[in-house]
């Protein structure tokens, strides 16, 4: 049905470890996500002044995307890369922070900087701004990692020439529980883009 596409590279962030193509690029013993992601950001020489203004979900997605994309020699002005992300918890972590700021009518001071992150797809915006990604993007909520949906959607975008590459994945975060897995689908490569490989790398 589709021409064959390929998984060029993949990145995961879980269990206090950042991995690229299965190899650890950063790991520490921080038990709090905020400390871990901050240390990883600095150790990985991630240069983006807005990083510390992001909510936790966006920091997670952004760092995973940055580790994956910064070696791709992307165009500094515009890149034809679509983004399809997914998770289960949506933006619940930030939603709770916003709710806490508005639950007391006597102390009602909602933070604009928190409120802007009460949608999960905002993390795609952060990635797109940094890497000048101009193409279709979507964020889906599933009960669990849905490789088949990501596979079908990415293949559809590529086969209809909507985009040249697709950044796909799962970015789940709630409190100190987090799990990110991003992979880049391209038209040239060696690792076949199929459900088996998507799941295999997710479980790496």
């Amino acid at each position: 049905m589709y021409s064959e596409y390929y998984i060029k590279t993949f990145c995961s962030i879980k269990n206090n470890t950042v991995s690229l193509n299965g190899s650890t690029v950063y790991s520490d013993g921080n038990t709090e996500f905020s400390e871990f992601i901050k240390a990883a950001y600095k150790a990985l020489d991630t240069k983006y002044s807005k990083f510390f203004k992001m909510d936790a979900l966006s920091k997670l997605a952004f760092l995973a995307a940055d580790v994956l994309l910064k070696n791709e020699n992307l165009n500094e002005e515009k890149n034809d890369i679509a983004v399809i992300l997914s998770n289960k918890a949506s933006s619940i972590d930030t939603d709770r922070k916003h709710q806490k700021s508005i639950e007391n009518k006597e102390d009602y001071y909602p933070s604009p900087a928190v409120f802007v992150y009460t949608l999960p797809n905002i993390c795609i915006g952060e990635i797109s701004i940094k890497y000048k990604l101009f193409s279709e993007n979507s964020f889906f909520i599933f009960d669990s990692f849905n490789a088949q949906h990501l596979l079908d959607y990415a293949n559809s975008l590529l086969s209809t020439n909507k985009t040249e590459k697709v950044l796909c994945g799962w970015v789940e975060l709630d409190g100190d529980q987090y799990d990110a897995y991003l992979y880049l689908v391209t038209k040239i490569g060696t690792i076949t883009h199929n459900k088996e490989n998507i799941i295999k790398f997710y479980n790496t």
Binding site: S49, F52, K53, Y109, S111, P112, A113
Partner: protein, 85 residues
């Protein structure tokens, strides 16, 4: 006035998550937006909330912030003249 300026610097660094900027790095007359500290439109809204929450000053028109948030010195002068708490 000096203690208010110091308080503003500390609040701005903490509440706007200016991780790479130390309080001591901010001068009273530094431009806060644009090429200065690099604050953005969301930061401006945060400062409006901060004025309300900490000093009882309600800005009904966000455009007023452009002049008030020019620098720490300008902010401190405005707050000292308009604060209700």
């Amino acid at each position: 006035m000096e203690s208010l300026k110091q308080e503003l610097k500390e609040n701005i660094v903490e509440q706007l998550n200016l991780e790479d900027i130390a309080v001591a790095d901010i001068n009273d007359n530094d431009i806060l937006f644009g090429d200065g500290l690099g604050l953005d439109s969301i930061d401006a809204l945060e400062l409006i909330v901060m004025l309300d929450k900490n000093y009882g000053i309600k800005l009904t028109d966000p455009k007023e912030g452009r002049a008030i948030f020019e620098s720490i010195a300008v902010m401190a002068k405005y707050i000292s003249e308009h604060r209700t708490k």
